[in-house]
């Protein structure tokens, strides 16, 4: 069980999102919520109307003045891709941020005017610290260069379970309420709630868990069970996550196979109360073994298998 399966890797990604989310809950100290900070949007696409750059941060934080665009990473390796992501976030100007907040109806929902005095891109790694950065920068020119470029776009932060969310490198653009809260650090809970069940890639395993969580549980409210079609599931996750229909087919094959739901017609499935035990089994199953392996076995995974299943 010590092996890090694909499912466990995805779980870690999910957990990193939920850990960051918990900074705005009452279990954090201080809770950003008590200081007026809200999460108006998750996984938005923020389009600059004058250029064709789109920023896709994982989280937006907003306190009525400052808009933080946060990208969350479940590991501590700085990758080239991260620089590109933060360059896009750094390209979001005040007007673009205000337009995005307006679209998210912050005025109606939060009573904030929607004005922004500063946009602050931040990238949050897990369990990173000064010592590691210092050492890696001394040993590797590539790391040093990446670090320098990354922090020219974003504040580099770290977070960990039962530990702090705090900045490590880089400066905020302005000094406001939210910036100084983050600078001082937020103590996070050891085991945050599963509010978000998504990963960037929406791989088979997390998709199976997410479908079981949403429709498997919703079905408990209906004595006759609840039917859902493949396209309804696809729409639910879009446009933030473009889930392919073939992936959904595979995941539903899996869910039917373990008994979490039954197929009622082509691409339509029914969840019922009496199948809930199997719904509860979905996560432990996909964390122990990839969905494809469960369906086709580890041995005979080959191209021909894929063709036969098309």
């Amino acid at each position: 069980m010590d092996e890090v399966t694909e499912g466990i890797r995805q779980r870690r990604e999910v957990n990193a999102y939920n850990l960051f989310y918990s900074a705005v809950t009452a279990r954090a100290t201080p809770s950003l919520y008590n200081h007026g900070v809200r999460i108006p949007m998750l996984f938005p696409e923020i389009e600059d109307r004058t250029s064709d750059i789109t920023a896709e941060p994982d989280f937006v934080l907003y306190d009525g003045e400052t808009c933080v665009l946060a990208e969350i990473k479940s590991g501590h390796n700085i990758e080239g891709r991260h620089i590109k992501q933060m360059r896009e976030c750094a390209g979001v100007d005040i007007e673009t941020a205000e337009a995005a907040l307006k679209d998210a109806q912050v005025q109606d929902r939060m009573g904030y005017t929607g004005t922004v005095t500063a946009v602050e891109p931040a990238i949050v790694y897990q369990d990173l610290d000064e010592v590691y950065i210092e050492e890696a920068a001394t040993e590797s020119t590539q790391f040093r260069d990446r670090l320098e470029e990354l922090t020219s776009y974003a504040v580099l932060m770290t977070q960990d379970y039962g530990d702090q969310l705090r900045p490590l490198r880089g400066e905020f653009n302005k000094s406001g309420n939210l910036q100084s809260l983050l600078r001082r650090g937020i103590q996070l809970p050891q085991n945050p709630p599963d509010q978000i069940m998504l990963t960037e890639g929406m791989e088979h395993e997390i998709l199976a868990i997410a479908i079981a969580d949403v429709w498997g549980e919703k079905a408990l409210d209906y004595a006759d069970g609840l039917e859902v079609s493949r396209t309804e599931v696809r729409d639910y996750f879009s446009p933030q996550h473009n889930v392919r229909l073939t992936d959904l087919d595979l995941v539903f094959d899996f869910l039917v196979e373990i008994g979490a739901c039954e197929q009622v017609e082509n691409h339509a499935y029914r969840f019922t109360r009496d199948r809930f035990d199997a719904v509860l089994d979905v996560e432990p199953q996909v964390l122990s073994e990839p969905v494809e392996d469960y369906l086709h076995g580890t041995e005979q995974m080959s191209l021909t298998d894929d063709f036969e299943n098309e």
Binding site: A26, F43, V60, M110, P189, D194, L220, D221
Partner: protein, 385 residues
């Protein structure tokens, strides 16, 4: 009791209490005798319940559901078969309920009062028969759940009664990995005896008796329990109004503390936006700081499996590689998560979670697993004001 629905027509809650308190009014001499608190005698008991969907006049349809629904346990089924029930409505929010037990040729009476989301059941039936009749009924009705207070809240509430002192208590100690479970029953208590019990045995009160004076001497004797039951044992003639005020104050306080601990005002809700989505709402009920200082995730899971999650009420699955448990409460048709922060247990609300399943689970933890946890709730909106 010998009541008729017309006794309660157009009556306020205060007037209903005043009416029923007559059953425990005593003379000065009887009061002296009653201070010994022995023998079988008449008490007025009030059960305080959270009601989600139960209304006065609907008892019959709920009983029918209990008798017919497949998912209902065989205990509930045979309970419904062994008794007959009738409800006479006196008013929009008051009815008289009788439960008959033909095999024993018994008829027991109860007054049902609803107000502000709560159901009160008042009765003078003695304890054995209360258990067999009304306590079972309240336990089987899926829409009704007796309120629950932690030991700390119970003390806080009872301490707040004016001109009163603690005159006795029941305190329990129960924790994993211990050789013995202890129950202390203390009558004729002096000041500080409750503190001593807590310090010496780590025992937490589940029932506190109080004597309340109406100058100069003891006029009201009652008790308060952690499981949503208040008792008036005796009220000296002339002190009825004070006793009613005490009851109203206790019920109000009880409901408020229960709400603070269990009410889910901010459950997580997903909402689509033009450019992204939000998940709003966060509620956690925290069981913290127990007697035992450490435990592993595995130990906590197996303790919960053996003591709380076993039985018919719960189905569950292990999540996050053994760090969380997703629980389905089949009695209330709700799910919630238990996040393990050993030795603490954090309960997180899911979209459908209400106070019903939180309260029921917490009560089971205190009763079956560990009586030494502290209880608190933290919650807030996340996306909106």
């Amino acid at each position: 009791m010998d009541l008729s629905p017309s006794d309660f027509e157009d009556k306020t809650t205060r007037e209903v209490l005043h009416e029923l308190i007559q059953y425990v009014v005593t003379t000065d001499e009887e009061m002296q005798e009653k201070t010994t608190r022995s023998g079988s005698r008449t008490d007025l008991n009030i059960y305080l319940c959270d009601k989600q969907g139960f209304e006065i006049g609907e008892l019959d349809s709920w009983i029918t559901r209990l008798a017919e629904e497949d998912s209902v346990t065989s205990y509930a089924e045979s309970y419904v078969a062994d008794h007959t029930f009738s409800e006479s409505v006196a008013d929009n929010d008051i009815s008289l309920v009788t439960i008959k037990t033909p095999a024993k040729n018994r008829t027991d009476e109860f007054v049902f009062v609803t107000n502000d989301g709560y159901l009160w059941v008042l009765t003078t039936v003695h304890s054995d028969w209360r258990k067999k009749t009304i306590e079972n009924l309240l336990g089987y009705l899926p829409c009704v759940e007796r309120l629950y207070l932690s030991a700390d809240n119970l003390e806080e509430l009872t301490d707040g009664i004016q001109d009163s002192r603690v005159s006795g208590f029941t305190a329990k100690y129960h924790a994993p990995n211990r050789e013995r479970d202890a129950t202390l029953m203390f009558s004729g208590a002096e000041e500080d005896d409750l503190e001593k019990a807590e310090e010496t045995f780590d025992a937490k009160p589940t029932r506190i008796e109080f004597d309340q004076t109406n100058s100069p001497s003891t006029a009201i004797q009652g008790s308060n329990t952690s499981k949503g039951r208040l008792t008036m044992r005796s009220v000296r003639r002339g002190s009825e109004a004070k006793a009613v005020n005490t009851l109203l104050g206790l019920t109000e306080g009880y409901q408020e503390l229960d709400r603070q601990n269990f009410e889910v005002e901010h459950s997580p809700q997903r909402r689509e936006l033009d450019n992204g989505f939000t998940i709003d709402g966060f509620t956690a009920v925290e069981l913290t700081d127990p007697d035992r200082s450490s435990a592993t995730n595995e130990e906590l899971i197996s303790d919960l499996e053996e003591n709380v999650l076993n039985g018919n009420q719960y189905r569950y699955g292990i999540r996050d590689s053994g760090r969380k448990i997703r629980v389905y409460d089949t009695d209330h048709q709700e799910t919630f998560d238990i996040a393990l922060e050993p030795p603490n247990l954090i309960l997180y609300a899911r979209e459908t979670t209400t106070a019903l399943s939180f309260r029921s689970f917490v009560r089971d933890v205190y009763d079956e697993l560990d009586s030494t946890y502290s209880l608190s709730k933290s919650d807030n909106p996340v996306a909106i004001q």
